[in-house]
């Protein structure tokens, strides 16, 4: 019997914080707001740690029923929580990184007039994210799922007076909704076929099923639909378009929601549903392909971006692609591993970028930065750690997780691996490009003091002038440092066997992912590679290990190549990029404009929809057909009435004529009746 962990407290605490700040924050001092926000998010973190400490004593998965929610016939969905290794990791990441970013935000947002609102939203986000993570059924997960979308909407549009921010928020929400559409359909299928949305019941029912290798069956459909949902939330092709725009939000938001936590919800959901996916090879393939393509595609866009946050945004999309690639090849634990390390280093990168922006007074264009290395050393060093980590330089967190993914991808298909490696190279290139452009060379921006008049509402710090480029306050630097440390050492929890580790991370997640594969799991398909490999893990053949090492070397080489190229182009010979760009004229333009995908969507979906709704549906069908028909019926009746009035000519003889004719008809009729 499990002890009562009171898991429900973990999400409720931030909700309380959000409510307190939301309702009373306006009249409270900043200090009070800060206290409330940090206390409740910190308390959630503490609770999570507490749970983690008691973890070994639990028999997993731990389930907790809190209250009834929906009851309809035999179907029910309750406020029930579910804790296993997977959710524990997510719990720690979300509360941990979340808390750090709360701390960071105190400094970052201090001068914003809506300080309280920001923390209220941020806490609200924590609430929904934790609900998502802890949910014991898909519907509760869906609450979190939609809820984080709401929080994201609110936070992206935090500076709502700016049209672009408002639009970006709306776009994020709507695109997410498109994904949710798929998610919902998947849920309906689950309800229809399994009668429940509770994880244990659904998975319990799915477990005995065999893999749908012959074709696309129910599970495949469900899997693909879940993936549609994941695509929306985790910004995968074709629904990734909202994430770059989401950078309109304050930078801590980008760090927390659009890098570390919310966007990984898709990965979490797919991993959570691994039981289904493992039995739906086609769905898994879809996941893998989407992930791979996204990884590559977003990376290429990242090359040409000049906005420091946009680069990171595309990098996020790309890294999420990696995670899906991992899930797609059945390496769920690798995906989660990367999710965790990514949370560290991408959170760090964003926060550092925020610190940079803070330093240069709200400027986000890298072309106007440069040479900041000495001016903001803390930022520089922490960011270096992050860059190295994401680029996959050996020894840092990103290296281990990415390497694990690539290796497992290769086991599935060399194509994934190849794209993955190329993407790794591109990643390394654009990250170092960012690094060089920001911190090296000469400072290219205007004097900070002058830049405030322009587009400075962009960030909180436009509002006040510090004068000169300066390092961020300690409250911002400390989270940076912590995250930098994590980015460096975080990978060591999952050092793969080939590198001399024993992949403890994978083992930790083992109970979740292993042993759930279909009974007849030995035949073809993507899911099959992972599972048998784990079982034979101990006495791993030397050849496999050496192959793995070879591949590791190749990816390290790719990373270094990227570094070198970036060094060449952006440090050594900064005039080159322009030439390269000119020589690649059309293509470069396309990349700069993100392949015109936004424009394409606008032209293909949005504009026809709006124009069609306006012209055809509203003015056409509604006004000119239906309403016109109704009005015409009325007018027609009046018209007839007007004509009928002419019967009433006022002339007595005419009246008598009518009477006579009428009587003639009546007489004729009656005679006919009589004769008949």
């Amino acid at each position: 019997m499990n002890p009562n962990l009171n898991l429900w407290l973990i999400p409720i605490l931030p909700l309380a914080g959000a409510a307190i700040n939301g309702f009373m924050g306006k009249r409270s001092s900043r200090r009070a707001v800060t206290t409330v926000a940090l206390f409740f998010s910190g308390a959630a973190f503490a609770m999570a740690l507490l749970v983690a400490l008691r973890f070994s004593s639990l028999s997993l998965p731990y389930q907790e029923f809190f209250a009834h929610w929906i009851r309809s016939g035999s179907f029910s969905a309750d406020f029930a929580f579910y804790l296993d290794q997977l959710s524990l990791i997510m719990l720690l990441v979300v509360t941990g990184v979340g808390f750090l970013i709360h701390v960071y935000s105190v400094g970052y947002m201090w001068d914003d007039p809506s300080y309280y609102r920001f923390f209220s939203y941020l806490n609200l986000f924590m609430f929904f994210m934790l609900t998502l993570v802890l949910a014991g059924n898909y519907l509760l997960m869906f609450i979190g799922w939609e809820g984080v979308g709401l929080a994201s909407y609110l936070l992206i549009g935090f500076w709502f007076t700016k049209d672009s921010a408002a639009s970006a928020g709306k776009k994020a929400f709507i695109v997410n909704r498109i994904g949710d559409f798929g998610f919902l359909i998947a849920l309906f299928l689950l309800i229809e076929h399994f009668g429940s949305l509770n994880f244990d019941q659904v998975f319990g029912s799915v477990m005995p099923l065999s893999a749908e290798t012959a074709g696309a069956g129910l599970l495949t459909t469900i899997g693909i639909l879940l993936m549609v949902g994941a695509c929306g939330k985790s910004a995968q092709i074709p629904l990734y378009i909202w994430l770059p725009d989401a950078m309109e939000g304050p930078t801590p938001v980008s760090a927390l929601i659009h890098a570390a936590t919310m966007v990984t919800a898709g990965v979490y959901m797919v991993s959570r549903s691994h039981v289904i996916f493992e039995r739906a090879p086609i769905a898994l393939t879809v996941v893998a392909i989407i992930g791979t393509l996204t990884a590559f595609f977003a990376a290429t866009i990242g090359i040409a971006q000049t906005d420091i946050k946009k680069v990171l945004a595309y990098s996020t999309v790309s890294q999420l692609g990696y995670m899906f690639m991992a899930c797609g090849v059945g390496a769920f634990s690798a995906g989660i591993f990367h999710l965790m390390t990514h949370a560290f280093f991408k959170g760090l990168l964003f926060l550092a970028a925020g610190s940079v922006i803070h330093a240069v007074g709200g400027e986000q264009d890298m072309r106007k930065m440069g040479g900041l290395r000495e001016k903001i050393p803390w930022t520089f060093w922490t960011m270096t750690a992050g860059t190295l980590a994401i680029a996959g330089i050996p020894g840092l967190a990103g290296f281990f997780s990415k390497d694990e993914i690539l290796w497992r991808a290769y086991q599935a298909s060399w194509a994934y691996w190849l794209v993955g490696v190329v993407t790794a190279f591109i990643t390394s290139f654009y990250m170092f490009r960012l690094w060089f452009m920001t911190f090296f060379g000469k400072y290219r921006g205007e004097d900070v003091a002058h830049s405030q008049g322009g587009n400075s509402a962009h960030d909180a710090h436009g509002a006040h002038g510090h004068g000169g480029i300066h390092e961020s306050p300690r409250v911002m630097v400390i989270p940076l440092v912590i995250l930098a440390v994590l980015s460096v050492v975080g990978g060591y929890v999952g050092v793969p066997g080939s590198l001399g580790g024993n992949n403890r991370f994978d083992k930790f997640l083992g109970p979740v992912f292993h042993g759930s594969a279909p009974a007849s799991g030995q035949h073809s398909g993507m899911g099959e590679k992972g599972a048998p490999e784990q079982e034979t893990e101990g006495p791993e053949p030397k050849t496999a290990a050496s192959t793995e090492l070879t591949f590791t070397a190749i990816s390290v080489f790719a990373a270094l190549l990227g570094l070198g190229l970036a060094w060449l182009l952006y440090y050594k010979r900064p005039e080159l990029p322009r030439k390269v760009a000119d020589s690649l004229d059309g293509f470069y333009e396309a990349v700069v404009h993100k392949y015109y995908i936004d424009e394409l969507y606008a032209a293909v979906f949005v504009k026809p929809l709006i124009d069609g709704s306006t012209r055809i549906l509203w003015q056409g069908v509604d006004r000119n057909i239906i309403d016109a028909a109704v009005n015409d019926a009325g007018d027609g009746a009046k018209h007839i009435s007007d004509r009928a009035r002419h019967m009433q000519s006022g002339n007595i003889r005419s009246y008598a004529g009518w009477v006579a004719a009428g009587s003639a008809v009546v007489i004729a009729f009656m005679i006919w009746m009589g004769v008949r």
């Binding site: 000519s649 002339n651 003889r653 005419s654 004529g657 004719a661 009587s663």
Partner: protein, 172 residues
């Protein structure tokens, strides 16, 4: 051809002629005289059917009193020949043909039903005593009620024919 039929036809011819003449004449006084002729001829027909009392009343009341009233009003209002105004197409286009069709149908009905039945001359003598018997017994109530009718008619005539100025002088 019996005497009865000859008389019927003679009176009938006057009736038909009078009726047609009523329609044909443009001056109302001529129409009125035609109508008197019709009524007189009808009185003859009544006699043929034995309705002596009715015939007498027909001449006295109808041809006498009522038609005098008509002539009197025509004279009073100095009605001239009627103008051929194009007031109503409906009456001509719908009413008259409709009525003609109805007449034909009626004729058909009448001929179909009672083609074989015939009435003798003076078939049902209606002497005043017998009439009175009915009138003051079986039809006592209708008879009494006609007094109300006549009262109304008199009052109505008084109200409508009197000059409205008699009271409207007070209207501002």
């Amino acid at each position: 051809m019996s005497f009865h039929l000859i008389l019927f036809l003679a009176f009938g011819a006057v009736c038909v002629g009078g009726a047609v003449n009523l329609l044909a004449q443009r001056h109302p006084i001529n129409s009125a005289l035609s109508l008197i002729a019709v009524m007189a001829a009808l009185a003859g027909e009544y006699l043929l059917l034995g309705a002596e009392f009715v015939a007498a009343v027909q001449v006295i009341v109808y041809a006498g009193a009522i038609m005098v009233l008509f002539v009197f009003v025509i004279m009073l209002l100095n009605a001239g020949e009627e103008e051929e105004t194009k007031g109503s197409r409906i009456a001509i286009l719908i009413g008259v043909p409709g009525m003609l069709i109805a007449s034909v149908l009626m004729a058909w009905v009448v001929l179909r039903r009672s083609g074989t039945e015939s009435v003798e001359i003076g078939a049902l003598p209606g002497p005043p005593t017998d009439i009175a018997q009915l009138l003051f017994h079986n039809f006592l109530l209708p008879f009494e009620v006609t007094s109300v009718l006549i009262l109304i008619a008199i009052m109505g005539a008084v109200v409508l024919a009197s000059k409205p100025e008699s009271r409207s002088g007070k209207v501002d």
